[in-house]
Subunit: 115 residues, 2 copies
Protein backbone atom coordinates (compact mmCIF):
# COMPACT_ATOMS: atom_id res chain seq x y z
CA UNK A 1 0.00 0.00 0.00
CA UNK A 2 1.03 3.56 -0.56
CA UNK A 3 -0.11 6.83 1.01
CA UNK A 4 0.62 10.22 -0.57
CA UNK A 5 0.06 13.80 0.45
CA UNK A 6 -0.85 16.06 -2.45
CA UNK A 7 1.79 18.61 -1.46
CA UNK A 8 4.50 15.99 -2.02
CA UNK A 9 3.43 15.21 -5.59
CA UNK A 10 5.34 17.08 -8.35
CA UNK A 11 3.29 19.67 -10.20
CA UNK A 12 3.57 20.32 -13.91
CA UNK A 13 2.11 23.08 -16.03
CA UNK A 14 -0.43 21.81 -18.53
CA UNK A 15 0.67 23.03 -21.96
CA UNK A 16 -2.00 21.39 -24.13
CA UNK A 17 -3.70 23.64 -26.72
CA UNK A 18 -6.72 25.41 -25.27
CA UNK A 19 -5.47 25.37 -21.67
CA UNK A 20 -5.07 28.51 -19.58
CA UNK A 21 -3.62 28.61 -16.06
CA UNK A 22 -3.75 24.91 -15.20
CA UNK A 23 -1.31 22.58 -13.46
CA UNK A 24 -1.49 18.83 -13.01
CA UNK A 25 -0.26 16.41 -10.36
CA UNK A 26 -0.21 12.72 -11.20
CA UNK A 27 -0.90 11.40 -7.70
CA UNK A 28 -1.34 7.69 -8.47
CA UNK A 29 -0.39 6.26 -11.85
CA UNK A 30 1.56 3.58 -13.66
CA UNK A 31 4.75 4.36 -11.73
CA UNK A 32 2.88 3.44 -8.53
CA UNK A 33 1.76 0.11 -9.97
CA UNK A 34 -1.91 0.97 -10.43
CA UNK A 35 -3.43 -1.83 -12.54
CA UNK A 36 -6.49 -0.13 -14.02
CA UNK A 37 -6.84 3.58 -13.43
CA UNK A 38 -4.95 6.69 -12.34
CA UNK A 39 -5.74 9.66 -10.12
CA UNK A 40 -4.59 13.11 -11.15
CA UNK A 41 -5.29 16.47 -9.49
CA UNK A 42 -5.76 19.61 -11.57
CA UNK A 43 -5.46 23.13 -10.21
CA UNK A 44 -7.03 25.79 -12.42
CA UNK A 45 -6.20 29.37 -11.49
CA UNK A 46 -8.71 32.23 -11.47
CA UNK A 47 -9.82 32.87 -15.06
CA UNK A 48 -8.28 29.60 -16.24
CA UNK A 49 -9.67 26.53 -17.96
CA UNK A 50 -8.83 23.12 -19.41
CA UNK A 51 -9.30 22.49 -23.16
CA UNK A 52 -12.74 22.13 -24.66
CA UNK A 53 -12.23 18.67 -26.13
CA UNK A 54 -13.29 15.03 -26.17
CA UNK A 55 -11.46 11.71 -26.06
CA UNK A 56 -12.22 8.00 -25.76
CA UNK A 57 -11.47 7.93 -22.00
CA UNK A 58 -14.01 8.91 -19.39
CA UNK A 59 -13.36 11.24 -16.42
CA UNK A 60 -14.54 10.65 -12.87
CA UNK A 61 -14.07 13.78 -10.77
CA UNK A 62 -14.20 14.99 -7.19
CA UNK A 63 -13.97 18.69 -6.38
CA UNK A 64 -11.49 19.45 -3.59
CA UNK A 65 -11.75 23.24 -3.39
CA UNK A 66 -12.74 26.38 -5.25
CA UNK A 67 -15.65 27.07 -7.55
CA UNK A 68 -15.79 25.73 -11.06
CA UNK A 69 -17.99 24.78 -13.91
CA UNK A 70 -18.14 21.92 -16.34
CA UNK A 71 -19.16 23.04 -19.82
CA UNK A 72 -20.84 20.59 -22.16
CA UNK A 73 -20.89 20.28 -25.96
CA UNK A 74 -23.52 23.05 -26.19
CA UNK A 75 -21.45 25.42 -24.07
CA UNK A 76 -23.86 25.14 -21.13
CA UNK A 77 -22.15 25.57 -17.76
CA UNK A 78 -22.84 23.15 -14.89
CA UNK A 79 -21.70 24.44 -11.49
CA UNK A 80 -19.13 22.50 -9.46
CA UNK A 81 -18.58 23.13 -5.74
CA UNK A 82 -16.30 21.46 -3.19
CA UNK A 83 -17.53 17.94 -2.45
CA UNK A 84 -19.27 17.51 -5.80
CA UNK A 85 -18.64 14.51 -8.04
CA UNK A 86 -18.78 14.56 -11.84
CA UNK A 87 -18.75 11.97 -14.59
CA UNK A 88 -17.77 12.80 -18.18
CA UNK A 89 -18.59 9.96 -20.59
CA UNK A 90 -16.19 8.70 -23.27
CA UNK A 91 -16.18 10.91 -26.38
CA UNK A 92 -18.21 13.62 -24.63
CA UNK A 93 -17.08 17.20 -25.28
CA UNK A 94 -16.20 18.92 -21.99
CA UNK A 95 -14.26 21.75 -20.43
CA UNK A 96 -13.49 22.59 -16.79
CA UNK A 97 -13.38 26.31 -15.96
CA UNK A 98 -12.61 28.22 -12.80
CA UNK A 99 -15.74 30.17 -11.92
CA UNK A 100 -14.49 31.84 -8.74
CA UNK A 101 -11.67 33.89 -7.25
CA UNK A 102 -9.71 31.04 -5.66
CA UNK A 103 -7.91 28.17 -7.39
CA UNK A 104 -10.29 25.46 -8.57
CA UNK A 105 -8.83 22.09 -7.52
CA UNK A 106 -10.28 18.72 -8.49
CA UNK A 107 -9.43 15.04 -8.72
CA UNK A 108 -9.67 13.53 -12.20
CA UNK A 109 -9.62 9.74 -12.45
CA UNK A 110 -8.90 8.17 -15.83
CA UNK A 111 -8.08 4.71 -17.20
CA UNK A 112 -4.37 4.01 -16.70
CA UNK A 113 -3.87 3.80 -20.47
CA UNK A 114 -4.88 7.47 -20.75
CA UNK A 115 -2.19 8.50 -18.23
Amino acid sequence: MKIKKLADVPRETVTMDGVLGATKQLVLGSADGVPNFSLRVFTVEKGGHTPCHSHPSEHLNYVISGRGELRDADGAAHALAPGDFAFVSPHETHQFRNAGDEPFVFVCAVPRQYE
Copy 2:
Protein backbone atom coordinates in the same frame (compact mmCIF):
# COMPACT_ATOMS: atom_id res chain seq x y z
CA MET B 1 -22.14 14.27 -18.19
CA LYS B 2 -23.47 13.91 -14.71
CA ILE B 3 -22.86 15.90 -11.53
CA LYS B 4 -23.78 14.59 -8.08
CA LYS B 5 -23.74 15.99 -4.58
CA LEU B 6 -22.80 13.44 -1.95
CA ALA B 7 -25.80 14.37 0.21
CA ASP B 8 -28.13 13.27 -2.60
CA VAL B 9 -26.63 9.77 -2.88
CA PRO B 10 -28.44 7.01 -0.94
CA ARG B 11 -26.51 5.64 2.02
CA GLU B 12 -26.50 1.98 3.02
CA THR B 13 -25.14 0.32 6.12
CA VAL B 14 -22.24 -2.00 5.37
CA THR B 15 -23.11 -5.39 6.82
CA MET B 16 -20.08 -7.39 5.69
CA ASP B 17 -18.39 -9.56 8.34
CA GLY B 18 -15.73 -7.64 10.24
CA VAL B 19 -17.33 -4.21 9.73
CA LEU B 20 -18.28 -1.90 12.57
CA GLY B 21 -20.09 1.42 12.15
CA ALA B 22 -19.64 1.93 8.43
CA THR B 23 -21.97 3.18 5.69
CA LYS B 24 -21.42 3.30 1.95
CA GLN B 25 -22.64 5.56 -0.84
CA LEU B 26 -22.20 4.38 -4.43
CA VAL B 27 -21.72 7.79 -6.03
CA LEU B 28 -20.80 6.74 -9.56
CA GLY B 29 -21.23 3.15 -10.73
CA SER B 30 -22.70 0.89 -13.38
CA ALA B 31 -26.13 2.53 -13.12
CA ASP B 32 -24.50 5.81 -14.18
CA GLY B 33 -22.88 4.20 -17.20
CA VAL B 34 -19.29 4.24 -15.96
CA PRO B 35 -17.29 2.06 -18.37
CA ASN B 36 -14.32 1.09 -16.22
CA PHE B 37 -14.44 2.04 -12.57
CA SER B 38 -16.74 3.20 -9.79
CA LEU B 39 -16.51 5.77 -7.01
CA ARG B 40 -17.92 4.94 -3.59
CA VAL B 41 -17.75 6.97 -0.38
CA PHE B 42 -17.43 5.27 3.00
CA THR B 43 -18.24 6.91 6.31
CA VAL B 44 -16.76 5.14 9.32
CA GLU B 45 -18.07 6.29 12.69
CA LYS B 46 -15.90 6.86 15.77
CA GLY B 47 -14.53 3.50 16.88
CA GLY B 48 -15.56 1.85 13.62
CA HIS B 49 -13.68 0.03 10.89
CA THR B 50 -13.98 -1.83 7.59
CA PRO B 51 -13.08 -5.54 7.39
CA CYS B 52 -9.49 -6.68 7.54
CA HIS B 53 -9.49 -8.51 4.22
CA SER B 54 -8.04 -8.79 0.73
CA HIS B 55 -9.49 -9.19 -2.77
CA PRO B 56 -8.35 -9.14 -6.39
CA SER B 57 -9.46 -5.52 -6.92
CA GLU B 58 -7.34 -2.56 -5.97
CA HIS B 59 -8.52 0.51 -4.04
CA LEU B 60 -7.63 4.10 -4.86
CA ASN B 61 -8.65 6.41 -2.03
CA TYR B 62 -9.01 10.08 -1.21
CA VAL B 63 -9.72 11.21 2.36
CA ILE B 64 -12.53 13.77 2.57
CA SER B 65 -12.71 14.34 6.34
CA GLY B 66 -11.89 12.90 9.73
CA ARG B 67 -8.86 11.02 10.95
CA GLY B 68 -8.23 7.44 9.99
CA GLU B 69 -5.65 4.78 9.58
CA LEU B 70 -4.96 2.12 7.01
CA ARG B 71 -3.73 -1.12 8.57
CA ASP B 72 -1.56 -3.46 6.56
CA ALA B 73 -1.11 -7.24 6.64
CA ASP B 74 1.21 -6.93 9.66
CA GLY B 75 -1.31 -4.84 11.59
CA ALA B 76 0.83 -1.71 11.25
CA ALA B 77 -1.26 1.48 11.16
CA HIS B 78 -0.59 4.18 8.55
CA ALA B 79 -2.20 7.53 9.36
CA LEU B 80 -4.73 9.08 6.96
CA ALA B 81 -5.71 12.75 7.15
CA PRO B 82 -8.03 14.86 4.99
CA GLY B 83 -6.52 15.41 1.55
CA ASP B 84 -4.41 12.24 1.66
CA PHE B 85 -4.48 9.69 -1.14
CA ALA B 86 -3.97 5.94 -0.69
CA PHE B 87 -3.44 2.98 -2.97
CA VAL B 88 -4.15 -0.60 -1.86
CA SER B 89 -2.79 -3.15 -4.35
CA PRO B 90 -4.77 -6.17 -5.57
CA HIS B 91 -4.69 -9.05 -3.05
CA GLU B 92 -3.17 -6.85 -0.34
CA THR B 93 -4.60 -7.28 3.15
CA HIS B 94 -5.98 -3.97 4.44
CA GLN B 95 -8.37 -2.37 6.89
CA PHE B 96 -9.59 1.23 7.24
CA ARG B 97 -10.18 2.38 10.83
CA ASN B 98 -11.49 5.61 12.31
CA ALA B 99 -8.68 7.00 14.48
CA GLY B 100 -10.42 10.16 15.68
CA ASP B 101 -13.58 11.52 17.26
CA GLU B 102 -15.37 12.61 14.08
CA PRO B 103 -16.66 10.43 11.23
CA PHE B 104 -13.89 9.28 8.91
CA VAL B 105 -15.06 9.84 5.33
CA PHE B 106 -13.18 8.72 2.25
CA VAL B 107 -13.59 8.06 -1.46
CA CYS B 108 -12.85 4.49 -2.56
CA ALA B 109 -12.44 3.90 -6.30
CA VAL B 110 -12.65 0.32 -7.58
CA PRO B 111 -12.95 -1.43 -10.95
CA ARG B 112 -16.58 -1.41 -12.08
CA GLN B 113 -16.69 -5.21 -11.95
CA TYR B 114 -16.08 -5.04 -8.19
CA GLU B 115 -19.08 -2.77 -7.68
